[in-house]
Symmetry: C2
Subunit: 330 residues, 2 copies
DNA sequence: TTGAAAGCGATACCAA
DNA sequence: TTGGTATCGCTTTCAA
């Protein structure tokens, strides 16, 4: 029924061990022998069973990407960034996307890893900070890379985006454009990135000698609605801002909608900036400026670290993406 | 080193076969025995090796989702829709996302399937129409479900969205709103959905007795730029339309940007409609109306078909999503 | 440079 | 209800 290594060895007139050598591209195989075997393999349409290879060889030829409640763009970027390298390495990517609460999440992931015996793992928040999982992985000798780790940051290889720097650069950019009153919409309380982004904004103001006006700081919750609400408050100010920098793209979109409703032209009357957590670029009204979150790059770097066995801690910068007010989006 | 079935059997004082029975939830195991075995399993932290189960049992406990160049939203929807059912069935989802041209694609997928011996497969375009892959799957006895098949539609189980009906409903909706001059931006030539959507538009006009004006038909290419270009042409018409229906959301966004630049209010001065191929809903200016593409539903239905062994051909409808001109997006 | 035989860790048939 | 034992298809010593 299934074509197996024995069939190939018989047709090629060699032992199965030799076929195995060819499969695994080992040396010490005479070119002529290798050719015979390869001929037999293609003639028979042979493909080695991954299950058997995994069982016998102790390698699964699979790495895991563990994501909990991932956004579409995030997930897509991760997969896109990982795919190429995985293909090169002859390894499959198993996507484990969760929707559960964190408690059972850890146990489930533990089970998952024990069952599958992965050759490696890419962990995204919050599982990247789930210590028992890291313990298990280390115990099993499975290399892993953490994406944007929050606790025990020094532990293992990781890739992060420098959100403070990103917000700082965006703010400087706005100041360079001549803005002095820049409204800032803070992200959801309790998320580390919220504070990091606010910190970057404040840093830039200080560095550039622009005085801080507390009225220009508004609390938001990362979503469209709160972006609208915050923008309303900012634009109602006696001394309203000439630019609004939102800590997320949904909030930036909300701010944009408010500006539009008030008949303001963007960016002529009001500059709006945000973060490209989702593919805002291709959808939203041109004129908005964003810090592009390089999820795909992060994933690609993570793959590099994973396959090179490095345990570096990489920190990536975001790219500032400015779209003209008349040209279309990307 | 690894805890295996033998360790469990010894600790429980039974044979490995009995442990196997417990693992697989077979009957003919005395409750007391089962309890003993389960105690041993948890005490040892035993998790059966998937590789060994796959090899011995002929099942991989994995199903494949094959996508080529998937959009972020599409991929996310598919995974989200599949995940729950896979978890229930105790099966892992292997995501195979491509970026290659179609020729090698087929061969690669063939290799992929032969190596992995999946328990099932979900095929999206264009691989859903790649006949050799279907042949291979059938030969191997692997159940599969095709998403939006285009050729040999009768073959195997499948799930599709009725694009003709979606466009028809949207057009009727616009007519119901009082529009009589509805510009239509056609999608990329050569894509079946482009013709289907145009067909639905034409159907609705005919049914509602609205005369067709050829000037209101403009060719686009599914992207933002061509949406802008088409909208310019439409709005330059002596008798310009009161509504524009674009065959994709990127084109709708392009049309929206043109309307905005011309100082038109949406939807007061111009209604704009599109298709939610990407999560336009949460990002774009409110006022645009879209046909929501239920990717997640499609995937969930596909999972139903796959695991029930059915070979039905399901056709799903899109949902019309209208966002108020003042309220925020979802 | 090649091969024989012993696992890897489960499942499954056939007895008991 | 249980338990031997062959088996799945490959990798891996260890010889030759």
């Amino acid at each position: 029924m299934r074509v197996n290594i024995k069939d190939v060895s018989q047709r090629a007139g060699v032992s199965i061990k030799t076929v195995s050598r060819v499969i695994n591209n080992e040396k010490y195989v005479k070119p002529a022998t290798r050719a015979k075997v390869e001929e037999a393999m293609t003639a028979l349409g042979f493909q080695p069973s991954q299950a058997a290879r995994a069982l016998a060889g102790g390698r699964s030829f699979q790495i895991a990407l563990v994501c909990s409640n991932p956004g579409a763009y995030y997930l897509h970027g991760m997969i896109a960034g990982l795919r190429g390298r995985c293909a090169e390495e002859g390894v499959r990517l198993i996507v484990h996307a969760y929707q559960t609460d964190t408690d059972e999440l850890g146990a489930d992931v533990l089970t998952f890893f024990r069952q599958m015996g992965f050759d490696g793992a890419i962990l995204t928040p919050p599982i990247a900070d789930h210590l028992p999982v890291l313990d298990e992985l280390e115990r099993a000798g499975t290399p892993y890379v953490r994406i944007q780790p929050g606790t025990e940051v020094e532990r293992g290889a990781s890739v992060s985006i420098d959100n403070t720097e990103a917000a700082r650069r965006m703010t400087r950019h706005l100041i360079d454009l001549g803005h002095r009153r820049i409204g800032f919409i803070i992200g959801h309380k309790g998320f580390p990135v919220s504070e990091q982004r606010l910190g970057g904004y404040l840093d830039a103001l200080r560095e550039m000698g622009v005085p801080l006006d507390g009225n220009l700081l508004q609390q938001g919750w990362f979503d469209f609605q709160s972006g609208q609400a915050a923008a309303e408050l900012l634009l109602d100010l006696k001394q309203s801002p000439t630019a609004i920098f939102a800590s997320s793209d949904d909030m930036a979109a909300g701010a944009l909608s408010v500006a539009m409703q008030r008949g303001m032209r963007v960016p002529q009357d009001l500059s709006i900036a945000g973060f490209d957590d989702t593919p805002l670029a291709s959808l939203v009204w041109p004129g908005i400026t964003t810090m592009h979150q390089p999820f795909e790059d992060m994933a690609a770097k993570a793959a590099d670290l994973l396959f090179s066995g490095s345990d570096e801690r990489l920190v990536l910068a975001s790219d500032l993406v400015e779209r003209g007010s008349t040209s279309g989006a990307a």
